[in-house]
């Protein structure tokens, strides 16, 4: 029993000592000392630096022979850097002499009264000498305004080339490739056929012939039960067979509206909706893209559809401007 207790007690003492050593407040650097604390510290610093050199070499070897494995490279270089760091910190606290120094600060404006007045005088003198340089000039005001005019003209000239950065906004943000008769195509340019879309499905389609990166080119096509539609009267024939198309670009911040929520249990769930993943603006499908949740304000522009020989074709233009709102956008209220 006693044989077991002795090493246990020693282990406990070592543990306490180690914890104290690690967590105790070490005020070494506060202590003033002129000589290295111990020759052992110098040895440790040297050992750390040698090890850092080896780790650096390991980085080179991993790079050359291991095909540059990212993890091994990372570990090697991190070790090299960390060992140098440890060596420097140890050298700073244990090898180099330590001292605490007290130093005067420069004073910019001193509360003491005499000093304050002296400062003020200096500032005044600086002002006077600036003015003295202009004493011979008689038409100061004229020259001043001439200088301001030069500055304004030159500044305007310097900024003008910035206008070349982009086109005038004009009608640019309202352009759309969708017109009466424009066909809908899939990403692979094949026409979108009405019978390919089941109720509850969701497809991204583009204006035929348009650049797919054009913000207004992409629409989402969804299919719902025709009987559930609640479109306003003027849009009554925009959704043949329950097929609806909306601009895919959210009217809040222009992310792609890429989530389609279609209720499996219509009695208990909110109706089918298109959701933007960026800020969760949610647009009601059945009523024609009205916002039902989230920060968007304008409804999602709807594209009227018709079916021509089985394929989907635009029956008119989008119901509103595509993309985020800006000062030129008319808002229905």
């Amino acid at each position: 029993m006693k044989l077991l207790l002795v090493p246990l007690r020693w282990a406990w003492r070592l543990l306490v000592a180690a914890v104290l050593l690690i967590f105790s407040r070490r005020d070494d650097h506060q202590v003033e000392r002129e000589l290295p604390a111990s020759p052992r510290a110098e040895g440790a610093v040297a050992a750390l630096l040698f090890a850092a050199g080896l780790a650096g070499l390991a980085f080179v070897l991993v790079y050359a022979f291991d095909g540059g494995d990212t993890q091994l490279l990372g570990v090697a270089i991190a070790l090299a850097l960390g060992l140098v760091g440890a060596a420097l910190v140890l050298a700073a606290s244990r090898v180099l002499p330590q001292e605490q120094v007290e130093e005067e600060r420069p004073r910019f404006a001193v509360p003491a009264e005499g000093e304050e007045r002296r400062r003020e005088k200096e500032v005044e003198r600086a002002g006077l000498s600036v003015r003295a340089g202009l004493d011979g000039v008689t038409r100061r005001r004229l020259l001043g305004s001439a200088g301001a005019a030069a500055g304004l003209g030159l500044g305007a000239a310097a900024l003008t080339p910035l206008a070349s950065l982009g086109p005038r906004v004009g009608k640019l943000l309202e352009e759309s490739p969708w017109h009466e008769g424009t066909g809908l195509v899939e990403e692979n340019d094949l026409p979108v056929r009405a019978d390919e879309l089941e109720v509850g499905s969701f497809l991204t389609a583009f204006a035929e012939g348009a650049d797919k990166r054009d913000l207004a080119a992409a629409v989402v096509v969804v299919r719902v039960e025709e009987s559930e539609l609640q479109l306003p009267p003027e849009r009554r024939d925009w959704a043949p067979q329950g097929l609806l198309a909306f601009s895919k670009i959210c009217t809040h911040a222009q992310c792609a509206v890429s989530l389609f929520r279609y209720p499996l249990f219509a009695e208990r769930s909110p109706g089918p909706a298109l959701v933007c993943p960026c800020h969760y603006s949610t647009f009601d499908v059945l009523s024609g893209g009205n916002r039902v949740f989230g920060p968007a304000v304008r409804p999602l522009p709807q594209l009227p559809l018709r079916i021509e020989a089985g394929r989907l074709v635009a029956a008119g233009e989008l119901s509103g401007p595509v993309g985020a709102s800006w000062g030129g956008v008319r808002e229905e209220s």
Binding site: G74, G85, F108, L165, V169, F206, R213, V257, G294, S333
Partner: protein, 469 residues
């Protein structure tokens, strides 16, 4: 040898005495002073790793068919920017390491700046004569946020494209000039002309880094000229600075910190994956993904965009102020506007025109600490609201309920933080001793009747000087 080198320098530049002074520059010691150093060292690592990345990256949005070594994307049309970032990650030896280190360092850089800002705020280090330097620091923070955004937007992967779409919408939302601003910067309607990537690139690798570097130089000079601030303590006064001189002592410790910061960042870059752009895929304006999150320092803005109720300002049928303006422009403008004007507000409130070289502890000025706590708690609440979609996607917490909760929290949390912090500070101040200000012991005397009574304590020397004025 050293003497000859200094002599050589001195005879040609007269730098000997300057060098001598610089070597004896005194650093007062406190662990919170390290945040600024970590930011500085992160910036150096960003520049070094960034230069390496420019040797391989091609900032072009022109489309090519991908045939690189990441098989799942074979045959896909991608931009040259995205393809070169993939090649950099898969085909350049050590390329992925450096790219990941660069990204991790950007995150740490911003985090260090924000912690540094909090230290400056809560200790009153921004007071005269350092208010000027505080403004420079805030400016660097804004530049660093934009710089980071430009950096991760360059890769043209799905996440960066979604970020740019939002950025463009925020630009469009500026009242009056928004439409033109958006088309100017992007060279047309979003996603913009081919020139946009050249612009983003030169902004990220030259314009913003040079601005930050120049301001950083000025920042350090303005630290050194009035010398460091220090906490109260033995021998320390407004007129002096007590601490370790640069040489010997501080230089090695700080250099050691540099190597330790670099070690952690390289370990992160090597071992912890960040922004695996091959998983996100290339960006097209018609693509999006659920649960998308920006780098952390933009989380507060996405949170504000999410929380804002849906309203625009419509005048004569035209959308004068579109919704993204509130969260994307007004909110950061309010936060930074407050931070910029706080030193002036405080000077007015406390009628304090004095120079301050001694730092307050947060409890020493309960009002300032409470206001700061309210501000940072407000921003943090909105920051967490930005991650509501992650909580929805991964934990199934209903999004709408979360949103209403965060809306309420963004109003209540700052108020609670203000009063709680103020109370805690006052309680801490009531019963304390401090090495620099005596033990906090009370003086008790025995009166002629034989009872005991406590003498009124002297005014605590810890109270900010301004409180007395």
């Amino acid at each position: 040898m050293i003497r000859r080198a200094v002599g050589f320098l001195d005879q040609r530049s007269g730098a000997g005495s300057v060098l001598g002074k610089a070597l004896r520059y005194v650093f007062p010691d406190h662990w919170t002073f390290l945040f600024g150093e970590i930011a500085l060292y992160s910036f150096l690592i960003l520049v070094a790793t960034g230069i390496y990345l420019t040797l391989f990256f091609e900032p072009s949005s022109s489309q090519i068919v991908y045939h690189g070594s990441y098989a799942p994307l074979h045959g896909q049309e991608v931009s040259k920017a995205y393809a070169s970032a993939l090649d950099l990650s898969f085909e350049v030896r050590a390329g992925l390491l450096i790219r990941q280190v660069h990204h991790w360092t950007a995150l740490v850089f911003l985090a260090a700046i924000v912690l540094h800002l909090m230290r400056i705020f809560f200790t009153g280090a921004y007071r005269k004569p350092r208010d000027l330097n505080y403004y420079i620091g805030l400016t660097m923070l804004t530049l660093a946020v934009v710089e980071g955004y430009a950096g991760y937007s360059l890769l043209d992967d799905l996440l960066s494209g979604m970020g740019l779409a939002i950025g463009n919408a925020v630009a469009l939302s500026v009242p009056g000039i928004g439409g033109q601003l958006g088309t100017l910067v992007w060279g047309g309607r979003f996603p913009g002309s081919d020139a946009f990537f050249s612009r983003l690139y030169i902004a990220h690798v030259l314009i913003f880094p040079v601005l930050i570097g120049a301001l950083m130089t000025l920042h350090l000079a303005l630290v050194a000229i009035p010398k460091h601030t220090q906490f109260r303590g033995r021998r320390r006064s407004e007129a002096n600075v007590v601490g370790t001189p640069l040489w010997p002592g501080y230089a090695l410790r700080s250099l050691g910190l540099f190597f330790c910061v670099a070690a952690v960042l390289f370990a992160l870059g090597g071992l912890v994956q960040i922004n695996p752009i091959w998983q996100w895929g290339p960006y097209e304006p018609y693509l999006g993904t659920n649960g998308a999150q920006p780098d952390w320092y933009l989380g507060w803005l996405i949170g504000a965009l999410r929380l804002m109720p849906h309203f625009d300002v419509v005048v004569a049928g035209y959308t004068l102020v579109p919704n993204p303006f509130w969260g994307g422009v007004l909110f950061p403008a309010v936060v930074f506007g407050f931070l910029y004007s706080w030193p002036t507000i405080e000077r007015r409130l406390e009628h304090d025109q004095a120079q301050h070289n001694l730092l307050d502890r947060p409890r020493d000025n309960p009002r300032r600490t409470a206001i700061g706590a309210a501000l940072f708690a407000w921003v943090a609440t909105i920051f967490f609201a930005g991650a509501a979609d992650r909580a929805f996607v991964q934990l199934g917490a209903p999004y709408e309920g979360q949103l209403w909760g965060y809306r309420a929290a963004s109003l209540l949390v700052p108020i609670a933080a203000y009063f709680l912090t103020r109370r805690v500070c006052e309680r801490l101040r009531e019963g304390e001793g401090h090495p620099g200000r005596g033990s906090g012991a009370r003086t008790v005397v025995r009166n002629p009747e034989g009872g005991f009574e406590e003498l009124a304590p002297e005014p605590a020397p810890g109270v900010a000087d301004s409180d007395r004025g």
